[in-house]
Symmetry: D2
Subunit: 507 residues, 4 copies
């Protein structure tokens, strides 16, 4: 059973609005009859231009097209994706279709869609249901659409980011089993979690028209490949509980994903987001990075290099000692809250920066999150603080003024991922590493669909595939590898062609 606390906790006032709001969401169709729902189809040309630029920066994906395209390995495969609908994801989608797949897609975050990317893909390649600034209700409607392959059935495979598509199927199956057994339907009011209420509502409403929809889905499903820490955590919990319904490949823990996307991606996109949202000079400022995992390491490096003095908060003494070795100060948030100018959460935990912290900050201190959910920052506490005033400078850049001091803090992207909300997320090159892992994972699941190689468990990609992903990205950067001699390979007991490291190697 999935822990509902892992669901996105959006802000209190918005929930009430959403639930009261009646939607009129209609699927549209291209001239070729493919379904979609995007913001503005006229942006498709612009999207196409940026996709073409991104292709040059994504050598791993383009190599997959060259290597696998001719044999059409995905022929017959229906793939549903739930992953930020950006330009980079567009190149991923068109790699899947270039290999023969049919694809339906939604975003895994209400703010992360790039509308021109969505338009280009919807027009040219796949069924897309995504736009920047969805409500939570719209968000789950899109997810449902992306999973709905109609009478022919599907999907065969899922590309997931955060695990929401996987969650919907698991909750759907659970409800259908209960319904079959007892006739009971899910009760949204049984939970306090507003987003989970939406999930239950969707499932309840579906039960009336088709009480076997998710059961059929699960029976057909070959597997899921999951992109992030949070989604992976859910999968391992389900594996531990014995409730996982199909095989899963943990793409997040490929070295070429977690040690690249999380680290180098954030090193790039944190300052990008800060600069686009606030134009603030980073040099000379005091920054606090909450958490010194891969994301925190990337953020701290970026801020330090830009001339900021960086303070790290950590719970883990090992990560804390790493921060110290880089010349960073390690202190609790309480000790520095009134001195710093920029606060970044990267923990993957909740309740990191609370409204009581924000009240003590300097005027116009910047508060943002690049970890995962918006509950790293106490948005609910901020929004419901008596007398607080919200001044929207521009979309995703809000100044919140406290009545007592008349000073304010600047919160980015409403506490959600600021690099996706205020900028364009990670750059193409590093996403090519992550997404090449996705393609390889999908290929592996599909190739082994009938062999029983993958049980209802969570797997990581074998190291030689991880190394292959890296190798596909070297040529673009002008690198040449050294080759082991047979003698040298024997000496260190590895095959000449790799893999070169033991599984526990930390890079």
């Amino acid at each position: 059973m999935v822990d509902p606390s892992l669901l996105i906790l959006s802000s209190y006032t918005k929930y009430l609005f959403i639930l009261a709001h009646s939607m009129a969401l209609l699927v549209e169709k291209t001239t070729t009859g493919r379904e979609y729902k995007v913001k503005d189809m006229s942006q498709a040309d612009f999207g196409r231009l940026e996709i073409e630029l991104a292709e040059v920066e994504m050598p791993g994906l383009m190599s997959c097209r060259t290597e696998f395209g001719p044999s059409q390995p995905f022929k017959g495969a229906k793939i549903t994706g739930s992953l930020h609908m950006t330009i980079q994801t567009a190149v991923l989608i068109e790699t899947l279709t270039a290999l023969g797949a049919e694809v339906r897609w939604c975003s895994c975050n209400i703010f992360s869609t790039q509308d021109h990317a969505a338009a280009a893909i919807a027009r040219d390649s796949a069924a897309v249901f995504a736009w920047k600034g969805e409500t939570l209700q719209e968000y789950w409607w899109c997810t449902e659409r992306a999973l709905d392959w109609g009478p022919g059935g599907g999907p065969d495979l899922i590309v997931d980011d955060g695990g929401d598509a996987t969650l919907l199927i698991h909750e759907g199956v659970k409800a259908e089993e209960e319904y079959e057994k007892t006739g009971k339907v899910p009760d949204p009011s049984s939970t306090d979690n507003v987003e989970f209420q939406l999930v239950l509502t969707i499932i309840r409403d579906g039960l009336k028209t088709d009480p076997k929809k998710y059961t059929r889905m699960k029976e057909r499903l070959v597997g899921v490949s999951e992109e992030t820490t949070t989604g992976v955590k859910r999968l391992y919990q389900m594996q531990a509980n014995g409730t996982l319904l199909f095989p899963a490949i943990n793409v997040n823990d490929s070295v070429t994903k977690s040690k690249f996307d999380n680290l180098y991606g954030c090193r790039h996109s944190l300052p990008d987001g800060l600069m686009r949202a606030t134009d603030v000079m980073i040099a000379g400022k005091v920054s606090v990075v909450c958490g010194y995992g891969d994301v925190g390491k990337g953020c701290a490096a970026a801020l330090k290099q830009a001339g900021s003095r960086v303070i790290v908060t950590e719970i883990d003494p090992i990560c804390a000692l790493q921060a110290l070795m880089e010349g960073l100060q390690v202190l609790p948030l309480e000790d520095v809250v009134s001195e710093a100018d920029i606060f970044v959460t990267t923990t993957g935990n909740k309740d990191i920066i609370m409204v009581d912290h924000m009240r003590k900050m300097k005027n116009n201190a910047i508060v943002c999150n690049i970890g995962h959910f918006d509950n790293e920052i106490d948005m609910q506490g901020l929004e419901t603080f008596p007398g607080v005033k919200r001044i929207t400078i521009k979309p995703q850049t809000d100044r919140w003024v406290f009545p007592e001091t008349n000073t304010g803090v600047i919160v980015l992207a409403e506490g959600r991922l600021m690099n996706l909300g205020c900028a364009t997320g990670h750059p193409s090159f590093v996403m090519s590493c992550s997404f090449t892992n996705q393609v390889i994972a999908q290929l592996e699941l599909w190739k082994e669909k009938s062999t029983g190689k993958y049980e209802k468990k969570v797997y990581v990609l074998p190291k030689h595939l991880d190394e292959k992903v890296a190798a596909l990205h070297l040529g673009k950067l002008g690198a040449k590898l050294t080759k082991l001699s047979k003698d040298q390979a024997d000496y260190i007991s590895v095959p000449i062609e790799g893999p070169y490291k033991p599984p526990h190697y930390r890079y």
Copy 2:
């Protein structure tokens, strides 16, 4: 006599268009009767919000308001400014008005205006004539408007950036003297330089209605304070030629300007511009920085810290040796043109990256300029290259495809300053250093207007004022200075309160 080659050389095709184009430029008026011409007055509220944010980041300017505001030292002074009409400049303008001045303003670059800043100032504080994306003809019309104080006369003081306002007056006076003496009016066709043709046209047309306009201006003018290297160079040329018509303060060579704005400003705004324009991952790429002066040093530092391998081109062996000491490679452009991914010009010279270089570059190599004029990059050669195809990805981001190879280069901001064209220029804090120098220079000129202290020469601010500018920016960053004892001050032969360094000290 000013060297017309120093004028902005815009692209060939655009010139033809501009000259053929008939304008309908009308001055508008606020409800209080103040003149303006901006893009969209409805952006004034947004501009105001960003101005308020910027104020917190510009302690030098805000300290001037506190220190000098009560005594209204600019009472009666009419100031014309020709300087990028950005949010930061808005804070400068409102500092001048807070000290009692009346102000008219235009931008010194056709792409650099932030329209919301222009709107807020036009509505609230000063006469503004500026918008993003002016034609050259519009540009000079705006300059003329900013200098035109009507029957009462003016300006008393000029804030200049690049020297265009100063140029117009000098050329105007020259023409009026010639006209008085010989009855001859300027002949635009006497020059090949398209922009200079516009200048001569404006002056010629003005002569008909008022043959003493610029002469009266020059007689009234107390002086100019100049912001940049290029403008300063013009001033020193005029001083050497004996043609300088009024005193000038060289703000550019204040340490707190050239060693901050140029260096730390570009370190911030180069990656900002690259990321906004192209979203390209800088890590892993090979970059070429042409020129290793202050601007080049800032750019190279930013690129290196972002994980790029940086190659520098230099003519000056001392700067080249500095680059080497930082681990950068120093090679001529020819040696690396086909290997690099990102090219940045910072030289202040012309003809740095020619179309023949661009033809040899990798597909989608990025070419941009953060030096000064767009002639650092051979835009004319590119635009007139037979069969070349221009694909505008988005405004200020163009892909130019060569027919022979079908590969292209991505040129930012049409070869003009990419940090202003593709991003928002330097951040507020570093501009506060530059602009506080401007305020202090203007105060100095105005205070000494009748004392004869300043002759028709170029001056730099005395070191104690330079140090004062720095001091005003320390508190915001939490710094505390050490104080010399009397004994220590005597030991190193400086006053306790400074200045602390000899004039030739290099910082």
Copy 3:
């Protein structure tokens, strides 16, 4: 059976010398009757002073004394150590004795002993057999002495670095079993490996006087804790072969060892060694770092930060891509051998820089190894190159001149670990991390000696002990950790007090 190729391959000419050389090695005794053999007992006071300084820098070890000293957990334990006899090791040894142990020690490298450290420990705390510049024959004599606890028997525990003490016991037991079964003694001439010949000689000679020495040792032995990659590799091979005779704890793969000592230790001690040996300016030079594992990462960071341009050679595409993300060039040695100034091997493999490479290098190129064995550099090829001339600038700094070009390369520490040979190895603080792992591993083995918890296998320390080691080093650096709330700990499913990360986490 241990692969003899893993043994130290010393230089050819020295072998011949050593074998021809007759030794007169006599054990000496302190006034209290403790055995020792060191270079110069008069350096004991100097050693003591430096030990006292090091104690302040080794908070992990000193905390162990405070926490465990009173209960004397090692009471009755006889510990043999084979690990570089440096000042830092002295603090380790005296931590073991402070916890109740009796200790005998030898170095694990012929060049790494600091003679003043050896003298201080020999005088004050433990039986030491070590000096800087041992011959290989002396080296193995020292190892034998350290293992020889006399009639009372011992050791109970081994602290090993590289696995030589463990090797001697395993080979000894094998020979004794063979001898008992067949009466055959080991034949040194059965191997080409000169060092292994010495091992067999020692064992053969011992068999005559006591044919059960190593068998009794193995029966008594509670276990070994091993410090380095190479020793760990040997242990895993023996585990795989089923020949491991006692439990082993792999200290090397504690995060607080491999990600600190290897990375930050080398970042410190590589430039230290370069500067002490050659005084060469690192800024401006081109460096080649062979291998980009933890050691290579530390070296490359140090060289880059000192202003060198760094090129990396790699076989592993993942590590290569990491290097690229840091702005380093990745090329094979062949491509850069004639352009670089400094060459550093960090691979843990053999035959990295061959004499044919060295012939092509620039005059006075520096060649050194900080990986492990001196066979990373082709010392034998160099020494036997026809007409080559060796000019010893000072001990451990040799210029080798090739007859053809009359140019030379400068080889440090005869190809052995240059940070230990030319400088003083890693600094105390980072060694405190490594050695606190050793103390904790020894405590764990000893505590569980009768419980059967540890079988004849290789173990790593549990993560909570790894985290504890880190925690003990934070206070010295002024760091304060953040504490999880119960709610937060539950949210991410970890105990409040840790461990905080899954086993596969890469840091």
Copy 4:
């Protein structure tokens, strides 16, 4: 008149000892009859080997030998040098002799001589009077010897560092004039400054045997070239007072000196000195750098890059703002004295770290000076502190323990330049820049000796010579310059072949 406070203030207890001490200093002679006094002539071979290594690293000096050697421009010139007698200086001396000069040399610091360098030069090339660890009395004896060219007269030229040779001549001339006029001899007891007492004693004693020695010297002297800030300051004072007796070239303020030697030299040699003296791990430590001029910038960069958190103290707001832009904290020493681990003075002022600061420091805090005189640190206050205990760990590394707390601080090089005292000073390459300026300055003075070009004033080298020095160092580092076209040179109004920058350019 020279300010005696500028003289080296040595420690109190040593003064008393020195004055009470009777010396027996005898000049020795080589087989060729050249005078010398060095520590150990048997080190000459070792010195020669290191000189040969250094030659490869000093391309500027070697280029001078190639360019000027054949024409023997110094033929007939007698040059006295007072400058740290190191390996690098040896290459300078042999460049002067290679160009035809005859040379006598002493060191300008009692600790900075490298005895093997002194021996090699004494044996092979020039008259040397220098050893590591001179008393002050010995120091001035050496200076006197270096100036004494015997009956033939001399020197013609002086190479000075700190100005002591220049001082002795000026004081000597003053005394001789007074003596001629009034018969009065200098009275050492007229000053409290112990070192100045020694100077007066030497002059007084000389007056008896030759009352015109310094007068003849001054009449013959063509000029001096001065190496450092302190010496230059003395020269400008004498110029201002009208007491300068001969022309002086200020080498210190060549860009290729002050922006290289001071900055990059210290970036190299500060960590070198720290590591050799204390082996302390720099990563993780808190460092305080007092002063953020060129030396401070180099030190702060080195410490930051090694992983230390760096705090800067400054009196100058401009330098303070520069530190902030690099992410460094700026605070007064008082605020951080009890938290930091490493303290470095770089101010060129006195009384920076007082004994009262040291009493409050953490146990084993490291205190050192890389600025200039040992009075940056309050050595006298420390030595005379009641009950303080000095424990010499090794030469130049002392632990001073305070009675009250029984904690101590570690003071390097007795408060003198720690990079020269504890390590080997700046590396050859950067010294090649400085010393090539010296050679060029000496050539210039000698060439113009009869032209009257140089008056009794202080000059800096013209920029084209500064650029030439840089250019001579590019090839060694593999750099290639870009060449200006005629058109480009005209555009920016510089000659094609340089100089490229205006005199006030700051680099």
